[in-house]
Symmetry: C2
Subunit: 258 residues, 2 copies
Amino acid sequence: PTKVFSIANQKGGVGKTTTAINLSVGLARRKVPTLLIDLDPQANATSGLGFEKVPGGSLYDPLHGEGVAMDKIQSTREKYLSVIPSEVDLAAIEMELGQKEDYLVQLKQVLQPVIDSGKFSAIILDCPPALGMISMNSLALADYLLVALQCEYLALEGLGQILSVVEQLKEAEVNPNLAVGGILMTMYDSRTKLSKEVVDEVRNYRPDLIFKTIIPRTVRLSEAPSFGKSIFEHARLNPGAFAYGKFAKEVIERFKLE
Amino acid sequence: PTKVFSIANQKGGVGKTTTAINLSVGLARRKVPTLLIDLDPQANATSGLGFEKVPGGSLYDPLHGEGVAMDKIQSTREKYLSVIPSEVDLAAIEMELGQKEDYLVQLKQVLQPVIDSGKFSAIILDCPPALGMISMNSLALADYLLVALQCEYLALEGLGQILSVVEQLKEAEVNPNLAVGGILMTMYDSRTKLSKEVVDEVRNYRPDLIFKTIIPRTVRLSEAPSFGKSIFEHARLNPGAFAYGKFAKEVIERFKLE
Ligand SMILES: Nc1ncnc2c1ncn2[C@@H]1O[C@H](COP(=O)(O)OP(=O)(O)OP(=O)(O)O)[C@@H](O)[C@H]1O
Ligand SMILES: Nc1ncnc2c1ncn2[C@@H]1O[C@H](COP(=O)(O)OP(=O)(O)OP(=O)(O)O)[C@@H](O)[C@H]1O
Ligand SMILES: [Mg+2]
Ligand SMILES: [Mg+2]
């Protein structure tokens, strides 16, 4: 069966894209057939994997009834990883989707055939830093929300809000299957007290949700996208590569991916 | 005269709020009457200055024709600084504004009386990480766009996009006054080559726009909001405080604030 993960958080710069790229490659390297979909008009996951932002390459047309999502799937250097890239036009979706009748399930309708095809065990959705149409559509479709959470105070402030969106969507019967898959702590700086305090706070607040793996802040992780590579290709012996490798393993175990 | 500055960038986590708070306090400490308006539903600038997110405290009601912006202005511990806080309801504005006739100038209409009052020399607008209704409204109103830009590769990718929005608004005659005030490099980490490369690249690309002041990455800056204080109150001898002090001086000189 295909499991869909939405990596969303309205707080910006918390490591959503870095997690989307490196989790996807981490799963693919463990032979889990994975599809990464870049839903952010900034297209950072697209360029972070070395793809161009080509007009017509994204889900923009299928969301307007032109063409189908299956045709937008591209293969990557990783045997078990495919990608649907983003493009700048996706930004217009925020306004345009809002004017449709059943505006929350547009993405679900477009991607259902891909899910039903059974080609992928995991579908990873990278979202923009907002709780607008695109992120809400991704949560209306997803089985699990994965929250990337920077080890910083301001990021902690918004945690309650993103977690409550899941409850709202369940109660509104938009997506009864949706659950919070977990909270991944990112950019942990072992030199600072702040990082440790934020992790302790999240561990006390939601011990059931926090992943065991903590992603350290390493320069190699922030360099990798400039080469269009995952951390595994850019610096495979870096602590960031070990952490995302461990995280991929933890995701496979927690969600029984095959 | 009152000058309006919009701190906007669709890239998340680049230091928009940290700059909004510390520039505002930096200007106020140099006796420039300043108003900081938190337009981000996350309300980080609100809590970062120690204010509560009180329903009815933001511009939400005035944007719906109830009440006026002047009444939402609150004083702070800083003699020359006032604030209009944010609240969660502001998120609904993204959808609701889009359905009005002249949706780009709603904020301008609400804030025009505050600008015309001449009470403030500088108005600073903190925006959410998106180019949606709220950010576009702020740019339709502003005299200058200030771009906070993290010294990271992914942040560099989005620079062209935010700069081009200014051209679009000018050409569309929405805001012929709008100009790019400058690019502030933030979270500079002198230990990494990446920071230096990104700064060099921006300096080559737009030498006319980059501010001389560069904000270093310091833990004290990321701690300060958890105490509801600016960097000047939290750690006045920290490199972050010197940098934002210098930046406030540079802004006063570049825009001739009184
Ligand atoms: N563990 C890490 N160590 C060092 N740098 C990191 C790490 N994770 C992410 N970064 C860098 O921090 C910045 C923010 O990360 P990223 O862009 O992945 O966050 P995001 O949540 O996707 O941002 P946005 O909200 O704009 O979509 C990027 O420049 C990225 O390269
Ligand atoms: N110079 C700095 N040194 C260290 N940490 C910083 C610095 N500037 C900002 N930060 C921290 O980095 C994180 C992102 O900064 P901030 O929230 O100001 O960015 P933003 O652009 O307003 O984010 P958003 O896109 O979510 O609105 C915050 O946790 C903040 O405390
Ligand atoms: Mg991202
Ligand atoms: Mg902010």
